[in-house]
């Protein structure tokens, strides 16, 4: 079994080091290149995806029924069904599978996890298709965020958990001087998992957001039930199938990892959350359901990423075109459906300083509109940047938002070549006043951006930070040429638990969060109680049991 650990030990060591130094590092290539993944990998991945459509998904799990009702945001039903049993039966199987897994060495468990990640990486093209046609992400993003970047996030969790477990010595001799003699105890320390762990996935980033909790719980000895969003089962079904395959090869009960598929009509998430033997819950999703989970999972370890109201504060810039281009991309990427996408852009009522002189509020608005037009003017590029809208409800939210202020740029339908039924739109840009707090201090998921006219930059920072503190926020962005403004913003957003990006005018975007360097979600405001990944995310998924034996002095 430890062959898996030995095979990946070098990678693990590099990952542990990367998590400490937090510069740029990645284990899995993000370029969907035939040279890296094999010349036929792209075609093979797409063929494998097509081959799964319209039939039961091959997963060797006990089934009382087949369920599944996924449909692609690009306009067709997947027609795939998955084996389903009630929540209680999943938990029984999980409890039965765990003891052998919990008894295995840290190295054996970590080796299995690393082999799962390696095989997931080899299936990145299949996973890209699965993510594209459940989340609506454009192919390139589905490949990167759904494949190698998600795998990096999984590896990061493995590295943190391994590092933490490795700090606990297996056995020590305790020798206490006591006058002429010594008191001697032989002690051993054993890692004990919490129990059955539940991972609740979301529809927009089914793998990226699920892998950290899945792998953190797994390597610490817990058995894991993976509950995908009913609209994005396939990417996690592929993941679970690979996990079970590796577990079986390594001699473990494959029910250490199980899939819990359901549909919106017959959901099973609450049954799982409420089950007394479920000890750990990782949740990604809406604040409304997140609150229900937190309220009802008392006494359990709960890690959430919910959502928030992300802000951009515009004070001044030495590159107005870079500013507008960068923001236009951040608003457009995956049609604003990233939890890191900006919603509110605070601009002083009397404008901002630029190299071309002071630009008024309206000139800033016009600059952003123009930048979005330019970015999305080419239909092929628009399709590649925007992807499709995951949920019909988002379209309704966009329509409602357009009535809440002065529309700077309307959300327009976009044609996606090759997918006539695709649900694709451009971002909506609406100007509002600082006093319109009921409009802009609530999360409006999707491609909705409010340009908020404020008294001053100080007012902007105060409003952005206060919204983060009250409603949650994952990212903030600031444009300024003044050091004192930057320093004030750093203090304000740090206190509100928000990651701040300053003066992004090039090819790095506030939405992006890189494994091994960026802490995704601080855990310090209502946008989520956990961070991907820090020590707190892994250290409480296991406990230590001590045995002390009296020894001869």
């Amino acid at each position: 079994m430890s062959a898996f650990f030995d095979a990946h030990a070098g990678l693990l060591k590099a990952a542990v080091e990367a998590a400490r130094t937090r510069g740029y590092w990645s284990a899995y290539p993000e370029v969907p290149s035939g040279k890296i993944y094999g010349e036929s990998a792209k075609a093979d991945g797409e063929a494998a995806f097509r081959d799964l459509l319209g039939k039961p998904f091959p997963l060797d799990q006990r089934a009382e029924a087949q369920v599944g009702a996924e449909s692609s945001p690009y306009g067709f039903a997947l027609g795939i069904t998955y084996p389903s049993v009630p929540a209680a039966a999943l938990v029984v199987a999980s409890e039965q599978a765990r003891p052998g897994w919990a008894r295995a060495s840290v190295e054996d468990r970590v080796g299995v996890a690393l082999e799962i990640l390696a095989r997931l990486n080899r299936q990145s093209f299949l996973i890209a298709n699965a993510v594209q046609h459940t989340s609506g992400q454009a192919f390139m993003m589905a490949f990167q965020a759904g494949g190698p970047h998600a795998q990096d996030r999984g590896l990061e969790a493995v590295a943190y958990a391994y590092d933490e477990m490795a700090r606990i010595p297996g056995a020590v001799t305790w020798t206490k001087p006591a006058g002429k003699v010594s008191l001697v105890l032989d002690k051993s320390f054993r890692i004990v998992p919490r129990g059955t762990a539940l991972v609740i996935g979301c529809a927009t980033f089914p793998t990226w957001n699920s892998y950290p909790g899945l792998f953190a719980s797994l390597v610490t000895g817990n058995s894991v039930i993976v509950k995908p969003h009913p609209g994005a089962i396939l990417p996690l079904a592929i993941t679970v199938r690979i996990a079970r395959e590796v577990l079986r090869e390594a001699g473990f009960d494959e029910n250490v990892v199980q899939l819990a598929p359901d549909t919106a009509e017959a959901p099973i998430t609450k049954d799982l959350v409420l089950h007394p033997r479920v000890a750990i819950i990782d949740f990604t999703g809406s604040p409304a359901f997140g609150e229900w989970v937190r309220e009802n999972a008392r006494g359990k370890q709960v890690y959430t990423e919910e959502a928030g109201v992300n802000s951009i504060v515009l004070d001044s810039t030495d590159d107005f075109r870079g500013l507008t281009g960068n923001i236009a991309f951040s608003l457009s990427l995956y049609t604003g459906q990233m939890c890191t996408a900006p919603q509110n852009i605070f601009v002083p009522r009397d404008g901002i300083e630029t190299p071309e002189g002071r630009k008024s509020f309206d000139e800033v608005a016009e600059g952003l509109k123009t930048a979005i037009d330019r970015l999305l003017g080419d239909p092929e590029r628009a399709a590649a940047v925007l992807g499709a809208v995951q949920s019909e409800a988002t379209l309704e939210r966009v329509a409602a938002a357009a009535t809440r202020g002065r529309v700077i740029r309307r959300a327009e339908r976009v044609a996606i070549p090759g997918f006539e039924g695709a649900r694709a739109i451009t971002p909506l840009l609406v100007a509002v006043e600082a006093a319109d707090e009921p409009v802009y201090t609530v999360e409006c998921f999707g491609p909705i951006a409010y340009l908020v006219a404020t008294e001053s930059t100080e007012d902007s920072i105060r409003r952005a930070a206060e919204t983060a503190r009250a409603k949650g926020a994952i990212t903030a962005s600031l444009y300024t040429t003044r050091d004192a403004v930057a320093a004030a913003a750093e203090d304000a957003f740090a206190a509100a638990g928000v990651a701040l990006s300053i003066n992004l005018t090039g090819q790095v975007f506030v939405n992006q969060s890189a494994a091994f360097s960026d802490y995704h979600v601080s855990g310090g405001n209502p946008a989520g109680n956990a961070s991907l990944t820090d020590t707190a995310f892994v250290a409480n998924r296991f406990r230590v049991a001590t045995v002390r034996r009296q020894a001869a002095a």
Copy 2:
């Protein structure tokens, strides 16, 4: 300010190393010797204690009233009062004091904590008197557990928190290759505290159980409100006074640490727990109030040590006299008022194997009775081992327990030389049947031990582990000469989250938990949700805020 850090850096380094290697290590000498602490230290400490009696405690905190109604279990009222303001005012002062403390460097904060510990150590004799005359502990135990051992536990928490914070780099450059150019970000990471931290102390170990949470919250940048048990304020008042003195010398607002005294008649703990700005709670106390805290502190970081039902399983021994002597001491030490003291002694109905042949259940019972008689036969030794009973309620509990089975040894009043009014008794030993679960599977705090007659050792282990899982347990003890029995017990107690001691027949006792080696409470059963000290105890007391700045490629 960093002078404090520099002065103690060697000690900190050794403490971090000790927490990783977990062999024997201690920073503060446990021997109350004049050679170590100064020839007059003992007399000075007692005089300083006497000098505090019967008047307002000198603490420079804002006061609307003076409160306090402590009385020594040795039979006299302390007559000390402490400055009191409502909970809301304490929180306001805490919030105002924190920003400067949160902005300080990790080294500055850790330096202050280490200096506080050093000064606490110098006051160990005063603290010993304060602990003795609030908890009822005999002087030697009050000195060791209340002084150096508590200081070791505090240092351990500082070491873990420092180690964890030191792993997060202050600033890094992130350089991502992107074709011919690179994407470059300058990133900085800032430690952000949770907010106001509340430490709720207990009456039996006011310092030992409070220092870990106090110091862990403090060095991670939180401001701390220390809420002592109304019956044991003085040891924490002395602690808070020293903390404020060091904070002031280092240039910080002394309200970073505040005392929140109250009385049983006008308690303020619930107001503090419910206050929305209180973000962290460390609680030591009863499961009943612990449950209230856990239920009502939702969304806050809560660390509890409550209580449990600790067991001894007797299977076989090669040293029956060592066994009985060791158990007698464990039952008698501080009159069974340790959260680690055994309550249930499981003995097979048909007895256990010993070098003198098989001993029947009754012979085992008689052996334990004899050992207690022997230990406590000398009045001076009895006083030194037993100390006094902290609460009158414990005496009532002992009287009730005596009616629940066949009394093997009655609890008897003990005279403590020099303290005529002392509340001191010997342990009660009662034989019950395995079927009497309603009697012995509930926690009976105090010197109450049940000898439980079981089917077999397997039955004993099963019952002990199941009680631990359902009701909580901190310790378990096993006597066996059979490896298979030891292995089965190790598995069962590990799964139930209980620390197991095997074959203690000498001068180490199951009740004892040593800083830097023993994890006190596993956090894996209802006896408490946290462990002293592991990484999980410190890692979530702060969050990390990131700032990313676009840099030139």
